[in-house]
């Protein structure tokens, strides 16, 4: 071990004849600086650190300011959701999914419900389909706005954070109006939804879709051509398309690297093929392209929201099947048959046939997969979440090695992780 002691009293050289503090002449300090070349440094970032976006811990080996190695440590937020799911009915799993990607809870709910319905062979109603599209796209916008705000803070721009969170708040108010909760939405049920939208919801969402593009345009104006922003993000953490595929990346991370894969277009669910929207694709796969892709996705989600509101049909939100959907409280109290169904569903749950089903949906972070394996009982044998943030995070050491420590923060931000989902 080489201990470096600096035998030089630099701090207070004293006063000169005129009573002014003496300055060390330029060029002298360099001679007495200990040589640190060749000695690597161990830096621990997190698990409690604002720039790690949650309880992520990075052990970093530095050569000067250059990252030699990154060793991520995860699991601080591990809650065992997949294990818990094996002990719960399908509908009881939906509240667990709120807590995975807690920045987009409604689309997680949709993912679980779609997988359970695929397993059981249930076709949902047209109104429910459109409402779920609205839920997914609202989630995409709020998730991307959190990403945009926190990333801009990481890179030293505070104002876009406030603008983004202002807009996010408007969606949260709508979400609260619909589900009664801002985070633990538990919106869906197998075969339908927990509740229909309230009367003022459509008006509120129309107001949002009308004004959101201009608010997004302001963020675009302040960042996209900003020299500091471009300097901090362009060419940083670049990844080519082939390598992105090899690392199983998904979502904006994959598309920024030039691979035009979007589950909504390529494996459509919820009738996404009938909506008119574009899939933005990056060119260089760097932090800047990921920013551009996510920014444009907000615009496209807004377009989808407008179309969904235009086509929102009337009708029931739940399938007409008393084995799957709880009867109304009134009929359960007055009608013997409805009461029996109510009792059986609460006590026994909805039984799924033997088999397995995987449904991947395009979540804000990437492809969120829900994989159910059933042995014919009301509780799954296995509930697997394919966590997009977990798989995207695994590429961090590859991206950050060789960059500066400050770029590591930018690269980590650009992956858009949410630890609830990484650790599950």
């Amino acid at each position: 071990m080489s201990k470096h002691t600096v035998a030089f009293d630099l701090a207070t050289p004293g006063l000169d004849a005129t009573g002014q503090p003496m300055r060390v002449p330029l060029g002298v300090a360099a001679d007495v600086e200990p040589t640190l070349a060749g000695e690597h440094m161990l830096i621990n970032i997190g698990p409690q650190h604002p720039a790690t976006h949650g309880v992520l811990r990075l052990v970093v080996e530095l050569d000067g300011e250059t990252v030699v190695r990154v060793i991520p440590h995860i699991g601080y937020l591990h809650s065992g959701f997949e294990k818990l799911g094996e002990y719960r009915h399908y509908n009881q799993i939906i509240p667990l999914s709120d807590r995975t990607d807690y920045l987009a809870p409604m689309s997680n709910n949709v993912g679980v419900a779609l997988a359970a319905e695929k397993l059981m062979g249930i076709t949902i109603t047209p109104r429910c389909t459109v409402l779920r599209v609205i839920a997914c796209e609202m989630s995409r916008i709020i998730s991307h706005l959190v990403w945009l705000g926190t990333t801009s803070i990481d890179l030293g721009a505070f104002t876009p954070f406030l603008w983004a969170f202002q807009q996010r708040e408007r969606i949260y108010n709508l979400q609260e109006m619909w589900t009664g909760a801002r985070l633990t939405t538990s919106l869906t049920r197998v075969g339908g939804l927990m509740a229909d939208i309230p009367s003022a919801f459509v008006e509120g969402l129309r107001d949002f879709t009308a004004t959101f593009p201009s608010a997004l345009g302001e963020i675009d104006r302040v960042l996209t051509r900003n020299a500091v922003w471009a300097g901090r993000t362009q060419g940083v953490g670049a990844l080519g398309g082939a390598e992105a595929i090899n690392h199983s990346l998904s979502g904006p991370m994959l598309r920024a690297s030039g691979v035009p894969w979007d589950v909504r277009k390529d494996h459509p669910y919820l009738d996404y093929e009938t909506y008119d929207f574009d899939v933005p694709v990056g060119e260089h796969g760097d932090v800047y392209d990921r920013y551009l892709v996510r920014l444009e996705e907000c615009t496209q989600s807004n377009r989808i929201l407008v179309q969904a509101l235009d086509r929102l049909p009337d009708g029931p939100i739940n399938v007409d099947d008393p084995r799957v959907i709880l009867p109304s409280k009134t009929s359960a109290m007055n009608d013997m048959e409805a009461m029996i169904y109510h009792f059986k569903q609460v006590m026994e749950g909805v039984k799924a046939p033997v088999g397995e089903a995987y449904v991947g949906i395009e979540n804000p972070k990437g492809e969120l997969g829900n994989y159910f394996v059933s042995d014919g009982t009301a509780k799954p044998v296995r509930w697997r979440i394919r966590p997009p943030a977990f798989i995207n995070l695994s590429v961090l050491p590859r991206l950050a090695t060789g960059h500066l420590l400050s770029d590591l923060i930018a690269i980590n931000a650009s992956i858009d992780i949410v630890m609830g989902e990484v650790d599950r």
């Binding site: 161990l42 699991g75 065992g80 595929i245 090899n246 088999g355 995987y358 994989y371 798989i391 695994s394």
Partner: protein
């Protein structure tokens, strides 16, 4: 049924087991564990197959203790927009080990680590097979196995005792402590505890 299943049978013969179409319309094909990497490499690289994207790797253990543990590889051909699931049966009583596919897909690295962490399946040839969600010194077993109780194997009191007895310096692996000779900087008593191999175990109750 996905035509890739027939192509697999024609190429690998008896190594390919049963094949079914799952309830989501995706074909699921069983493969013997030994030629797994060769089969997946063939699926990835053969013209006309091109399953170039590994969606997920996971395992399924059934409540019926007689059924083998299944490893599931979710493959996708991005160009052809086709999915295929490859399953490998591992007898629960036998060695739970299979060759790693990290050499084919870098994305399998953390996914295999998670299967190792949660199910105890060893992936031969994995470059960095450590626990990932649970901590390195976690001694209760493999949480997603069916014989693992929902509340864990140890009592709450034992879990608290272990947490309090844990060596805080054990949050760094020896490999990490080798960076910048950080090990040398540790106080003598912490060094002594590490040298006694305290990393993997926890001190006995007083």
């Amino acid at each position: 049924m996905n035509p890739s299943v027939d192509a697999l049978r024609a190429t690998f013969g008896p190594a390919i087991g049963r094949a079914v179409v799952a309830r989501d319309g995706v074909s699921v094909v069983s493969v013997r564990p030994e030629p797994l990497v060769a089969v997946l490499a063939w699926l990835r690289d053969t013209v006309g197959e091109r399953y170039d994207y590994l969606v997920d790797v996971t395992a399924v253990e059934y409540r019926d203790g007689e059924r083998p543990l299944e490893l599931v590889y979710f493959l996708r051909s991005l160009a052809r927009r086709t999915d295929l699931r490859v399953k490998v049966d591992l007898e629960l009583r036998g060695p739970l080990a299979v060759d790693s596919v990290v050499s084919l897909w870098a994305g399998a690295n953390w996914l295999e680590r998670e299967v190792f962490d949660m199910f105890g399946v060893t992936f031969r040839g994995h470059p960095d097979l450590r626990r990932i969600l649970m901590w390195d010194t976690y001694a209760e077993g493999y949480p997603l196995r069916k014989d693992f109780p929902l509340r864990g194997r140890f009592s709450r009191a034992e879990q608290v005792r272990q947490a309090l007895a844990a060596n805080p310096e054990a949050h760094y692996s020896m490999e990490e402590l080798s960076i910048a000779e950080a090990y040398d900087e540790l106080p003598p008593d912490v060094k002594a505890r590490l040298d006694q191999g305290e990393r993997g175990t926890v001190a006995d109750a007083p």
